[in-house]
């Protein structure tokens, strides 16, 4: 299978604001330490762990919105550590779809316009945009709500619009950071099922983070993080068991 993501011994340290020159060892905090993982096309993968375990940091690094302190990450075969900001931006635009914890829809745009946005910045023609937006909204079951602004949608509907926005440009990879954190259990389960369904039907690769253990039952592969370290990978454990 084609490899979509390859994380090789990646660490990420953040400087502390009140760092002291006399104590350089305490001048940063380590969010991720020597993390490695490989993701192949079409996987549906969960990154699990408690708050502060480094899930968001790992997703940010894979999503090219942050740079590792050490190590390297390849996305669809491209070494992101070698890329200039403009190329990183292009990579995100073309290869990655994002779903955020707080939905992050543009409030002055309708649901359809929000879904259209990734196509707009790629310069897709208006006719093609219309068709693909309709398809994406159809796939998340929100065709009837296309002309509503986000403030008139429920939390579950907003997150489904965000999923439609993440898949509309047919990215190689969809990253979802705690997509169910602001949803009730029913909506959360529905969303995970929706993403899983899209993963199967469209062959899209999904990586999502969660700290909700109940959602992990719906997931084929789980990577667990604790204190910035990968402590388990169900695919490896499964492989070793088999």
């Amino acid at each position: 299978m084609e490899e979509i993501v390859n994380v090789e011994a990646v660490s990420r340290r953040f400087p502390l604001d009140n760092s002291s020159a006399h104590h350089p060892a305490h001048s940063f905090v380590s969010a991720l330490t020597h993390a490695s993982l490989r993701v192949t096309a079409g996987e549906f993968l969960a990154i699990a762990g408690p708050s502060g375990s480094g899930k968001t940091t790992l997703l940010n690094l894979i999503g090219c919105i942050d740079q590792p302190t050490t190590g390297r990450i390849l996305v669809d075969g491209v070494d992101t550590s070698q890329l200039k900001p403009g190329s990183m931006s292009k990579l995100r635009r073309e290869k990655i779809g994002f779903v955020f914890q707080t939905f992050n829809l543009i409030p002055v745009f309708t649901a359809a316009e929000n879904v259209e946005y990734p196509l707009l910045i790629q310069g897709v023609s208006s006719r093609e945009r219309r068709e693909r937006v309709a398809e994406a909204l159809e796939s998340v079951g929100l065709s009837a709500r296309a002309q509503q602004r986000p403030d008139l949608l429920s939390g579950g509907e907003r997150q489904r619009v965000a999923v439609a926005r993440a898949i509309v440009h047919r990215p190689a990879l969809v990253l979802a950071d705690e997509p169910t954190a602001n949803l009730d259990t029913h909506n959360a389960t529905q969303l995970i099922d929706l993403m899983h369904g899209l993963n199967r039907s469209l062959g899209l690769t999904f990586i999502f983070s969660t700290h909700d253990a109940r959602l992990l039952d719906h997931t084929e592969r789980i990577i667990r993080l604790t204190d910035g370290e990968v402590v388990s990978d169900s695919s490896i454990e499964g492989g070793s068991r088999g």
Binding site: G63, D66, G86, S89, R92, E94, F98, N104, I106, V108
Partner: protein
């Protein structure tokens, strides 16, 4: 592109109260500039037409030596064949008429007291046909062909200082071309109040033949040309210049703008004040808008982070903020244009007057003119100011660290 502009447009109305405040401020600036500029334009336009109609005319013809003349013997450098010159010039397009003049200096005496005067000898019919205003406060204008004594109009101040009135006599003394002192008795038939106190304190007017007899010369110092409209001055000037070539005397043609010293001073002063006001409005809009736009940027930090995360080029973010500010400027300018014109109309119908300016005795009407160029300039000023104000927030927005922006609460 259309969607991008739509996004910018809708963003303007996200915080309606703040947008409204900005529109009031920008609109107020534009309206203020329009009212001030319109009032200045009204003043300068009025002053221009007053200056021309009070006898300056649209153009004047002099001899080349006139500007180096001896003020005691003004006709030494006067125009000889002025009737021929006038006839040649009169046939030009836009020319309404020609008025010959002698501007001369001398002394007036009432037998017990003498004072210097600044005289003007005119052809009353020619002056009247050109619509020149004489500003007679009391009495009547000069009779073009008086049967008896030489008639004179004198300034209000001169009449007061000489303690004379209508019907009284004065002796006018001036130097002839030969250098001899000559005198003529005149009878005062009218008192002039031009509004300019300094001028009225020395002014005397008699008919052209009377002055030629007094100065013993048939020359004139200048020919005043009246046109159908001030706007045609440049065109008429270009056409008239060749007609003055090839004459026995070298003649010079001057436009009203070259002779209207006071008008030019006032105009420069108003332009300076308007420029100063424009600079104040520019910085006022700039400083307050920077703050407003920074607040808007700060509130949208996570949204900008999301847009950047999705791969929006940073230049788009800069453009988005600048387009939003420019649209706000356009809307503010529109508000200002409407408000400024409405207030202007209200002011024009109010009949308000301003106190007379220094050196003048008549109150000035408080009116504004509609000057399209000022409307365009004022609008552009605030639009550019807002676009400038958006640079800092736009650049800061485009430089946000995506991960930090996404975590912004």
């Amino acid at each position: 592109m259309a969607k991008f502009l739509l996004l910018a447009f809708r963003n303007i109305f996200r915080n309606r109260r703040r947008t409204l405040m900005t529109l009031f401020m920008v609109g107020g600036g534009v309206a203020g500039l329009l009212l001030a500029g319109g009032y200045f334009a009204f003043m300068t336009h009025g002053l221009r037409e007053d200056t021309i109609n009070s006898g300056l005319g649209h153009m004047q013809i002099f001899t080349a030596e006139h500007f180096n003349r001896d003020e005691n013997r003004v006709l030494d450098t006067g125009i000889e064949n002025w009737r021929q010159v006038a006839a040649s010039v009169k046939t030009g397009s836009h020319v309404r008429g020609i008025a010959p003049r002698i501007d001369f200096y001398g002394m007036v005496s009432n037998g017990t007291k003498a004072a210097g005067f600044m005289g003007s000898a005119v052809d009353p019919e020619a002056e009247q046909s050109l619509g020149f205003i004489t500003y007679i406060e009391s009495g009547r204008n000069l009779d073009p062909k008086p049967s008896g004594e030489v008639e004179a109009l004198i300034g209000k101040g001169l009449a007061k200082s000489m303690n004379v009135g209508i019907g009284d006599g004065l002796t006018v003394l001036a130097m002839t071309s030969d250098g001899a002192l000559n005198g003529v008795d005149v009878q005062i038939v009218g008192i002039i109040n031009s509004g300019a106190a300094e001028r009225d304190a020395r002014y005397l007017r008699i008919t052209l033949p009377a002055a030629q007899r007094l100065l013993q010369s048939d020359r004139v110092t200048n020919l005043v040309v009246g046109l159908d409209s001030t706007e045609n001055t440049d065109r008429a000037y270009a056409e008239m210049m060749p007609r003055l070539n090839g004459l026995s005397q070298q003649l010079v043609l001057k436009k009203w703008i070259d002779l209207a010293t006071y008008y030019n001073q006032v105009n420069s002063m108003f332009n300076g004040i308007f420029l100063f006001m424009g600079i104040i409005v520019f910085f006022m809009v700039l400083m307050s808008s920077v703050n407003t736009l920074l607040m808007s940027m700060f509130e949208r930090t996570r949204e900008i982070g999301t847009m950047l995360a999705m791969g929006t080029p940073r230049a788009w973010i800069i453009a988005l903020f600048m387009v939003e500010a420019t649209m706000l400027g356009l809307a503010g300018a529109a508000v200002g244009l409407v408000a400024g014109n409405l207030l202007g109309a209200l002011l024009n119908s109010s009949g308000l007057h301003m106190p007379p300016p220094p050196g003048y005795t008549q109150p000035m009407p408080f009116k504004v003119r509609y000057v399209p160029l000022e409307m365009v300039a004022s609008s552009l000023l605030v639009i550019v100011s807002l676009a400038f104000a958006s640079i800092l927030p736009a650049v800061r927005a485009s430089r946000l660290r995506i991960a930090e922006a996404l975590a912004h609460v």
